[in-house]
Amino acid sequence: MYKSTLAQLSIALESKKISSEELTRLYIERCNKHNNSLNCFITITEEEALKKARQADKKRASGDYNLLTGIPIAQKDIFCTNGTRTTCGSKMLDNFVAPYDATLIKKMNDAGLIMLGKTNMDEFAMGSSNETSFYGPVKNPWDDCRVPGGSSGGSASAVAARLSPAATGTDTGGSIRQPSSFCGITGLKPTYGRVSRYGMVAFASSLDQGGPMTQTAEDAALIMNIIAGFDEHDSTSTEKPTDNYTEKLNNSIKGLKIGLPKQYFDESLDNNVAEVIENGLKELEKLGAKCVDVELPHTELSIPAYYVVAPAECSSNLSRYDGVRFGHRCKEPKDLSDLYCRSRQEGFGKEVKRRIMTGTYVLSAGYYDAYYIKAQKIRQIISNDFQNVFKNVDIIAGPTTTGVAFKLNEKLNDPISMYLSDLYTVSVNLAGLPAISVPSGFINKLPVGMQLIGNYFQESLLMNVAHQYQKVTDWHQKIPQAYE
């Protein structure tokens, strides 16, 4: 049962093969058993989950339920949950319990999904390896010497090891797609503004976007049906009506035009990864898709632009952690300045401090035009590049990452090399586009993801293509042996 997708669990519950309580207990047991080694949960909400599961069973018995009522799910610890602490992977918020639910959480609760716990993540979502978490690194279930990717590493690891049938993540520069690729699961980063950011602890407001991390594209669509949509609490969420995301999954992709950016297949790309992606593309061609070469000429500028814009916003967003109202406060501050300095010095980790300092620098008088304004201009150019490409193709395809999951500590002290591993993902955030990472093969028993990028609000098409691909491949069904 633990190998089941959301779609399968929905049927199992509907046909009363299992109760929500039994199902929840099954996953809680798996969590308890494996969390010590994987460290993918910061908090496991066992009691609350079982209580909710019993309520779900009653609801199902009474006929008042939804498709996913009673199915457990893991939530990234970046989403505020009323009554359950929200740490964002930081010592700063170790003691923080939000008095409200994030919109995404509320929608999932309303849909009857049951939270198993809060998943580990890079501190304030800043990292690509989950090693910056105050709660220690998460292990990749495919090889426990390796990172699961980040920042949504806990969610990716939990779904890959089937400690949870699905999870949520957030993606600012690749934080859903890269760990999905490293852990062999499906991860969708929706169009900026498609899913409410209200209650999602902000890292870089103009880039952050929450989305599903699942076994299959079909499951991603099931979750998108719940979480997508306008939210009056988020001014940047769009009023554009949502799709029925499951409706088009089975559409034929015959005649689909796929653009392959030259810049995604150059010397930065690992040869083995390139081969996996080429095989994946062949499968899509067999389904009737047509691949054409395209140009995204400013791809290499995306990393520097991203590492100006994201830290700038982060430096401002993280100013509220000052030890005054909530979060970590240093002991016995001798004055106001001491309270600020020590609370922040003690509460934040190295990478967060690095980005706050970078961000403060690029926004400061005399540097603003040279860095921030220039980065915004590059951002516009990158968006334009994508729009030019989308004039001729339906989607863009390529690798999600330059290589497979790297080893723990391998890049921890080399931030630039860590940043560069986001090469294929960050430009999507800069442009605000939707993209999905789909398991497409293995290199030395380590999963590789293929990234499909769509034009604005083309989530349905992306999941349709991914679903058709998953119907003819089984990479997404592979489970690491230790967790079988």
């Binding site: 940047t236 100013s319 926004l363």
Partner: protein, 486 residues
């Protein structure tokens, strides 16, 4: 520096007007003043992790209204920016404000200078921003208390050009804006509660010098009186400094009303680099011609137009018109009484600026809670006009109304104050007085014409006393002269 040098003062003002919205500028929390500390601060105002601001449309409309009323440009697109600095009563570590693209720019108003000349004061910009909370440094021994009720209140910061040349002009400008925002119903103008505050940028320079002198910014000014005193004090301080060979340092100074002095708060070197950048949580504000048109239609008759109308159409003096139009509550009150009394402007004005405003001042009340409403006063004035009571008796009636004894007509009846206009009754009164004062009557008849007036006054006094003030004085006057001269 030459001591006999003539100095010119240059003043620019930044006004913070709290917009009269029901809820805060970026959250649904109430803006009502005076609640218990931290009871009117929701998750958004507290800057909790994950919360997001949502603009209050009313605040936008109010800012547009102000912009249109001062003939300013309202750009199609205006942008909110973050002003970053750390302070315990600033929950997010940044204030959401506007920087490069404010909602209002390049407006102006006209003020009257001391020598009664019109002077144009340019308004550089007016932008929307959120207020911070309040720090209380005195009440908690060794600690600072933070009250975030005010955090997120909508402010319109109105920035003038340095167009004013003395404290009087600054006050004139301030009063003009103060009156305007209340007419537009976008700010209650309450200075004690901090709904209308002002910072002044002050510098001095030798009259013939073109470049401006080094300015200081005086903060913490919350009454017209203090603002005037603070500016005058600061001007004197700066002139003294320069004349004694020192220089003015660009800095922020705090005004201490108790000591009537300004003292240094922080110098330019210590000033923050606010690291402004567009707030990514808020979309640019787009304002259409349609919206502007709708808002323009909501603008009422403004004080300047009203003042001219009072003088030209109602025949009031400049003094009366100024007084009646300074505050929209008074103007509305006045116009209601005029309607009721069918246009007796001068009489209405006299009562409002006389007995009514004296009573209000005495009890430190404002028109909104006056026990005598415009309707009550108007009705009373009608009773004077139709001679039911005399102007003198009306003062008694007014006082009774003030003391909540009822409306004019019922007070007149219950106190039996109706004017005696019956000729035979008045004749009886006069006859009685003549009979009682034969000696005076004799003296009247024999004295030279220029002394007779004294006796007339005496007789009228006696008659009015006997009638308890109710006899119609005009009738008494006529009939008495008739009788004495017969």
């Amino acid at each position: 520096m030459n001591k006999s040098m003539e100095w010119e003062t240059v003043i620019g003002l930044e006004i913070h007007a709290q917009l009269a919205t029901k809820s805060k500028i970026f959250s649904g929390a109430s803006t009502i003043y005076g609640a218990k500390p931290n009871t009117q601060a929701c998750a958004v105002d507290l800057g909790l992790p994950g919360v997001l601001p949502v603009i209050n449309e009313q605040a936008i409309l109010m800012a547009i209204k102000f912009g249109l009323a001062i003939g300013a440009e309202i750009p199609e697109r205006s942008v909110f920016a973050r002003k970053n600095y750390f302070y315990p009563d600033l929950p997010k570590g940044y204030q959401i404000s506007q920087f490069e693209l404010p909602i209002v720019s390049n407006g102006f108003i006209e003020i009257l200078t001391e020598n009664k000349k019109n002077k144009l004061i340019k308004i550089t910009r007016a932008h929307l921003e959120e207020d911070a909370g309040k720090s209380n440094h005195d009440q908690f021994n060794g600690y600072t208390g933070i009250d975030l009720n005010r955090a997120g209140n909508p402010l319109l910061e109105i920035v003038s050009e340095p167009d004013m040349n003395n404290a009087k002009e600054a006050i004139s400008y301030l009063k003009k804006i103060h009156s305007l925002v209340r007419y537009l119903e976008i700010c209650d103008g309450n200075m004690q509660e901090g709904s209308f505050r002002c910072d002044a940028n002050v510098s001095v320079k030798p009259t013939q010098q073109k470049e401006l002198g080094t300015r200081t910014e005086i903060k913490n000014l919350n009454s017209f009186k203090f603002i005037e005193a603070a500016i005058n004090h600061e001007v004197e301080r700066q002139i003294n400094l320069i004349e004694s060979g020192e220089i003015v340092i660009q800095e922020t100074r705090l005004y201490d009303a108790n000591k009537n002095e300004t003292r240094s708060m922080r110098s330019k070197e210590e000033a923050n680099d606010y690291r402004y950048f567009p707030d990514p949580d808020l979309l640019p504000v787009l304002i259409t011609e349609e919206t502007k048109k709708t808002v323009r239609e909501l603008i009422p008759e403004l004080p300047d137009a009203k003042r001219m109308r009072y003088q030209n159409e109602l025949g009031l003096s400049e003094y009366d018109s100024d007084n009646l139009t300074a505050n929209p509550d008074i103007a509305n009150y006045f116009e209601t009484t005029i309607k009721i009394t069918n246009g007796n402007a001068k009489m209405c004005a006299n009562w409002i600026m006389g007995d009514l405003s004296a009573s209000l001042n005495k009890e430190n009340m404002n028109l909104k809670n006056s026990p005598v409403t415009a309707k009550m006063l108007g009705d009373m004035i009608n009773l004077i006009k139709d001679k039911t009571i005399s102007g003198k008796i009306a003062k008694i009636v007014f006082e009774a109304m003030w003391n909540k004894e009822g409306e004019a007509i019922s007070i007149i009846e219950s106190k039996d104050l109706k004017q005696v206009t019956d000729l035979s009754e008045i004749e009886n009164l006069i006859d009685g007085i003549i009979a009682e004062n034969t000696l005076q009557v004799e003296q009247y008849k024999n004295c030279p014409a220029d002394k007779k007036r004294k006796f007339i006054s005496f007789f009228i006094g006696q008659i009015m006393k006997k009638s308890k003030g109710k006899a119609n004085p005009i009738q008494v006057n006529e009939l008495l002269k008739e009788k004495l001269n017969s």
